[in-house]
């Protein structure tokens, strides 16, 4: 059987879901028997294969134009897209920013920060990504599997990946289903 190609990336999140992924510990050896781990934030390859992957995993919410681009590329190149963790699924902690305006958030971050010693300046270089309203991944691209949790437990992640690797759609319920 051909090994399924898996790619992952993180958007506006805390990397906690990827840490939780690493918490599957020695089971990762079993997993790589089933799948071919391609581009991830913790491997050398940084973008999903141009000729496509089977499974794409996104952690984090969509917070700016760069996130949008990454999400769209992942969607285009992957057959099944997994939203991993509360930020990707719901917007999560990041989405608290939606309760204020982007301008206020930028001012708070670059001008009013306690550690800003000189006059603060909001970056405006056209090369850098523009912040947007915070969105769940599904608000930008179609998501096939939602894996909530802050972060999802290693057991949940292992279950989801091993099911997908064996060609089944994971069904989260009971112990495996939690939103916190």
């Amino acid at each position: 059987m051909r090994k399924l190609k898996v790619a992952s990336d993180w958007l506006a999140g805390c990397a906690g879901c990827h840490m939780s992924f690493l918490d599957i510990d020695e089971r990762i050896a079993k997993l790589v028997e089933l799948v071919d781990l391609r581009a991830t934030p913790i491997t050398d390859l940084k973008e999903p294969d141009e000729n496509g992957c089977d499974i794409g995993i996104l952690e984090g919410a969509i917070n700016n134009t760069a996130n949008e681009e990454v999400a769209k590329r992942m969607r285009e190149r992957c057959k099944i897209l997994v939203a991993l963790g509360d930020c990707a699924v719901f917007g999560g902690v990041v989405a608290m920013r939606n309760f204020g305006t982007i301008e206020d958030a930028l001012k708070r971050a670059y001008v009013e920060t306690e550690s800003t010693d000189a006059e603060g300046k909001i970056p405006s270089d056209p090369e850098i990504a523009r912040p947007t309203r915070v969105r769940a991944v599904k608000e930008v691209v179609k998501v096939d599997v939602a894996v909530p949790g802050c972060p999802p437990d290693a057991d949940v992640i292992y279950y989801v990946l091993s099911e997908l690797a064996q060609g089944r759609m994971p069904k989260l319920k009971d112990e495996l289903l939690h939103w916190h």
Binding site: A83, V89, V93, A95, H180
Partner: protein, 669 residues
């Protein structure tokens, strides 16, 4: 009886039962959110929709009365789809973020409902409209972002507590729970009973003290009894790592059915003072930490020396917050074995001595149980402020007032109940007797006497006009209240310290005769309730610990305070006592003044029994382990007895039968 079929199962229920309750009785689970078994069905959340054969649409089972031949399905695809849709709308309406909510992970009924439907996400995103958070209350926070408008809190505040602080403002998406006319909770008429907190299904109302300190699966729940007053409400202690996180009302408790007041729910978690954690003995004028052995030896030698010297010997006072076991040891040790001059309670029987005298005269208990209030159509409260003390009994009264129950309050003093009363009577001090006989006179003159009084009262002299002159209460009011009592089907009489404080029993006897004439007291039943004092005043009475005290002349005073706080009056009393022993949990001016201090467990650290105002024997359980050198009150008496070479008996159940009970649920209801 009604017979219906739910999921193919035949169910028999009494008429008036809802489909939801019928299903629950049959062990069929229907998820709910706004429903609460102690609240009137409301039909607000639509989680409980079911399919009924022949009905055009899905029906809310919580408000649908079961009917004969009804065929109900609780688990069809249409029902499942509707449930998920209902949850989708609820989640998208406000801002529900489980990752930083303290009730997430087992305690949230909304989250559990979503898990039950296998929802991995919200199909609709919220619209990011921020809702206010009201953090003005001392004990809890109201976060409108997490509110699902189930109105359980509003209903509990009205239906269970009768306080009507919470309400709803606006319509549709702007609906919001408000206090009074939309003032911050902390500045509202809220009485901090916390019932709203206990019924909230989400994290919309969260407890300040225990938020983020342990989820349902991390804590231990221990059923016990509140020792805040003589009502004796059933509680659950929520404990984690030997810390009391929270207290909740026990929904299954016979006395309070889940409701608690501030004194029971929040006060035990506020700082009660500095704990005494080791025995202390006065040396060279200062209290020094010592061993139990030395402390007990010191006390024992003083007690030995003063033993049997009557009013020049030992005076022993116990708090009525101590459990039955401790009070019984106390009585045996000081009254039976050490022959002390004074052995009584700090309460001095101010609420029990007179009723006890009356019970002995009648030869049986004469008071009823609190549940008589639930069906009362007239409540006459005399000399008792149920807004301030015995609050849960007050809730029972307050919550039936909207149903048309009339409240008569008799108290010359300021009393929180005056404001709620239909008739607020303020007779001149010491004229209670005349007022009560005046009311009897009105009933008699209407020819509506249901049972004849036992005592002799001069009715002819107590016309409304005469009584008005004596008491200062308008004659018309006396006539109206008399008529009200004559017309009442279920009158209930509640009396307290204001009536029993007087040193002669006539007013209490007149109250009982009035109750007899109004049909509230006969050989089989009683709707007369005395509120008593602290948690174990009844037990203190049963052990003869209900006499007045004067410590003058006594050589040694032994104060078993437990976790009680001493009054200023008590401090004055002990001022000139040559040798003072204090058995206490907390440091106080009294322990400062003591010669020996014995560290005692607090209520949550010891197990024991309490007799509530109804005469109900109830248990308290140990939820916490006391500090290492701290012992339970009963254990301290035992250790002291051992040091003195005295053996104490454990037959407190028999010993409690020596006196006639004032109230006893099995004998008199």
């Amino acid at each position: 009886m009604i017979t219906l079929t739910i999921d193919g199962k035949e169910v028999h229920v009494p008429e008036g039962t809802t489909v939801l309750r019928a299903a629950q009785q049959a062990g069929i689970h229907i998820p709910t959110l706004c429903d609460h078994k102690h609240l009137v069905p409301y039909g607000g959340c639509r989680m409980c929709l079911v399919e009924v054969e022949g009905a055009r649409t899905l029906q809310p089972s919580c408000t649908l009365p079961a009917a004969n031949g009804m065929v109900v399905y609780t688990n069809t695809p249409a029902v499942q789809e509707a449930r998920t849709f209902v949850l989708t709308l609820i989640f998208s309406e406000r801002n529900h973020f489980c990752m930083y909510c303290p009730v997430s992970g087992g305690d949230c009924e909304l989250q559990n409902a979503a898990y039950g439907q296998g929802m991995t996400e919200w199909p609709l995103q919220p619209n990011w409209q921020p809702y206010p958070v009201d953090g003005s209350h001392e004990f809890f926070v109201l976060d409108h972002n997490r509110c699902i408008m189930c109105r359980r809190c509003v209903r509990a505040c009205a239906e269970l507590v009768g306080n009507f602080t919470l309400g709803v403002q606006e319509r549709g998406a702007n609906s919001r729970i408000i206090a009074d006319l939309d003032v911050p909770l902390g500045e509202s008429t809220c009485i901090s009973c916390g019932t709203c907190l206990q019924v909230c299904p989400t994290g919309a109302i969260i407890d300040r003290a225990s938020a983020y300190q342990g989820r349902l699966k991390d804590v231990t729940r221990i059923k016990s009894t509140c020792v805040g007053c003589s009502v004796g409400c059933g509680i659950e202690m929520i404990v984690r790592d030997n810390r009391l996180l929270r207290i909740e009302g026990d929904w299954d408790a016979p006395v309070n059915q889940g409701v608690l007041c501030k004194i029971g729910r929040f006060d035990p978690l506020t700082n009660q003072g500095e704990r005494i954690i080791t025995p202390l003995v006065r040396r060279n004028g200062a209290l020094k930490a010592t061993t139990w052995e030395e402390a007990l030896q010191t006390v024992a030698s003083r007690l030995q020396a003063a033993k049997g010297r009557g009013s020049a010997g030992i005076a022993a006072l116990a708090s009525t917050r101590l459990p039955v076991e401790a009070l019984y040891y106390f009585k045996q040790l000081f009254a039976d074995k050490l022959d002390s001059g004074i052995v009584t309670s700090i309460e001095e029987g101010v609420t029990t001595a007179l009723p006890g005298w009356v019970a002995h005269k009648l030869g049986k208990p004469f008071e009823g149980t609190l549940d008589t209030i639930h069906k009362a159509d007239v409540v006459l409260a005399i000399g008792v402020d149920l807004v301030e003390n015995h609050q849960v009994a007050g809730f029972f009264v307050k919550r039936i007032l909207p149903r048309g129950c009339k409240l008569v309050v008799v108290d010359p003093y300021d009393n929180g109940m005056h404001a709620l009363a239909d008739f607020s009577l303020r007779p001149k001090k010491g004229t209670d007797y005349d007022l009560l006989v005046g009311l009897m006179q009105v009933i008699a003159s209407l020819g509506r006497v249901r049972a004849h009084p036992i005592g002799t009262h001069d009715l002819t002299r107590h016309t409304p006009d005469n009584v008005s002159r004596i008491t200062g209460v308008p004659a018309e009011t006396i006539r109206e209240v008399g008529r009200l009592l004559a017309d009442a089907e279920h009158p209930v009489f509640i009396y307290g310290k204001g009536l029993t404080r007087a040193s002669f029993p006539t007013a209490l006897e007149a109250l009982l005769d009035l109750a007899r004439m109004a049909g509230a007291l006969d050989d089989n039943r009683s709707a007369v309730i005395g509120t008593k004092g602290q948690a174990n005043s009844m037990a203190a009475y049963l052990f003869d610990l209900d006499k007045a005290f004067d410590l003058k002349g006594h050589q040694v005073a032994y104060l078993a305070l437990g976790d009680d706080h001493p009054s200023a009056r008590l401090l004055e009393h002990v001022e000139h006592v040559p040798f003072l022993v204090v058995q206490a949990s907390y440091a106080s001016p009294l322990t400062d003044r003591a010669d020996v201090v014995l560290p005692a467990a607090i209520w949550a650290e010891q197990a024991g029994h309490y007799v509530n105002l109804e005469g109900r024997l109830q248990e308290t359980r140990q939820g916490l382990t006391p500090p290492r050198e701290v012992r339970s009150n009963a254990a301290i008496f035992q250790a002291l007895a051992e040091t003195l070479g005295i053996t104490l008996e454990d037959n407190w159940r028999d010993a409690m039968q020596q006196r006639i009970w004032i109230s006893q649920p099995d004998v008199c209801r």
